[in-house]
Symmetry: C2
Subunit: 251 residues, 2 copies
Amino acid sequence: MSEYVYNLLKKHHSVRKFKKEPISEAHIKQLVEAGQSASTSSYLQAYSIIGIDDPEIKEDLKEVSGQPYVVENGYLFVFVMDYYRHAIINEDSKQDMRTSFESAEGLLVGTIDATLVAQNIATTAEDMGYGIVYLGSLRNDVERVREVLGLPEHTFPLFGMALGIPGDDENGSPKPRLPFEHVFHANRYDSDKEHQSETLKAYDQTVSNYYRSRTNGERTETWSDQVANFMSAKQRLDMLEQLNKSGFIRK
Amino acid sequence: MSEYVYNLLKKHHSVRKFKKEPISEAHIKQLVEAGQSASTSSYLQAYSIIGIDDPEIKEDLKEVSGQPYVVENGYLFVFVMDYYRHAIINEDSKQDMRTSFESAEGLLVGTIDATLVAQNIATTAEDMGYGIVYLGSLRNDVERVREVLGLPEHTFPLFGMALGIPGDDENGSPKPRLPFEHVFHANRYDSDKEHQSETLKAYDQTVSNYYRSRTNGERTETWSDQVANFMSAKQRLDMLEQLNKSGFIRK
């Protein structure tokens, strides 16, 4: 029984400072192949991968994301939900496939497919010695990302991933996760509010202590604080409109 | 530079025949921990994992899925998009978080978070020597799954995963994936239809040959055939309604 992957994954933390060394083409190829090996819903393979080393495109995407490591990294991926090839097949077919891939089910399948691919790439990259960080921030301006990457109808940029050799001053560490008992449910979902509140309280303390010890007491917020602040900022409420415009969740 | 994970992932294929040996509690715990170590969008951790060994619940879910390996396996996971705990925090908060987690952005975040966790579990399980298969088929009847698993509002069952020691008669093999050049785009998306059609034609031949050689010529369909047939069957067109009912993509 190998514990190799278990031990690798347990060490995961997002890396946000990279050395400038670019990742070799051979490694990019291996990473994409590892990604493609992931399971895919009903063999649909509803994703594409944009691999970016062009400094201008990186700058454009940094404007969307606001994060310096969108430019300063060894390589950049953008993961795209992709039914463009299915749409091409549909053009030559007498069958109606369009209803399917424009449905909410099509959205789930494409999002799940692309994410399975991305996580295979993340794990392979970390095994190779690279660090990675996901970039949901590309959804800050989906229209701009579509334009910069030349994305056609029936594709959608879900998120990016910056990767590279971790910088010498990189000092990330795994952040405490929700307690096992809180995310894991045996056989049926435990929706008891009191029990959930109790485990959340203990976890809030853990997170607060984590921040306190890493910032010399400057940050002390709990997980509940952080989540409430983040979600009440109501970001990216245009997402349904962006999905519609791109050809998804159409009725 | 380790190629351990690359080599492991390249061997992946779905396993649909398992031995009856249950997976030990210690391994389940390790798998869930590996899952929890995945990246999570803005630290929201918008997922839960239901771990199932109860034979009656397995039978109920098999009725939804129609697949025998939902019962015949070493263990069963269901991956749930989960904002129930965020809703509890929202009740005690003066801020409005609800608009966020009921939005399309909330749906993307929850689907991505849950899928990252699942793929970590898949990779860890395969490294331990187990086989796995994803079960999108649980979305055949979301209402029934919600009922069987006791899922509250603001949670949604995305997919399952059956796992276990591969049966002696298990003879799966990695299915040919879309060509690298077709899913990978350098810097900008290549939407040239002629080029896409051409690479699809070559791939169609590859897939047809794969089926022919594995079925003694009984199956010869191309990837395009398979995709067209699958999508024109228009399955699960109730997904938007199911998402709405569960508290998602509400306006």
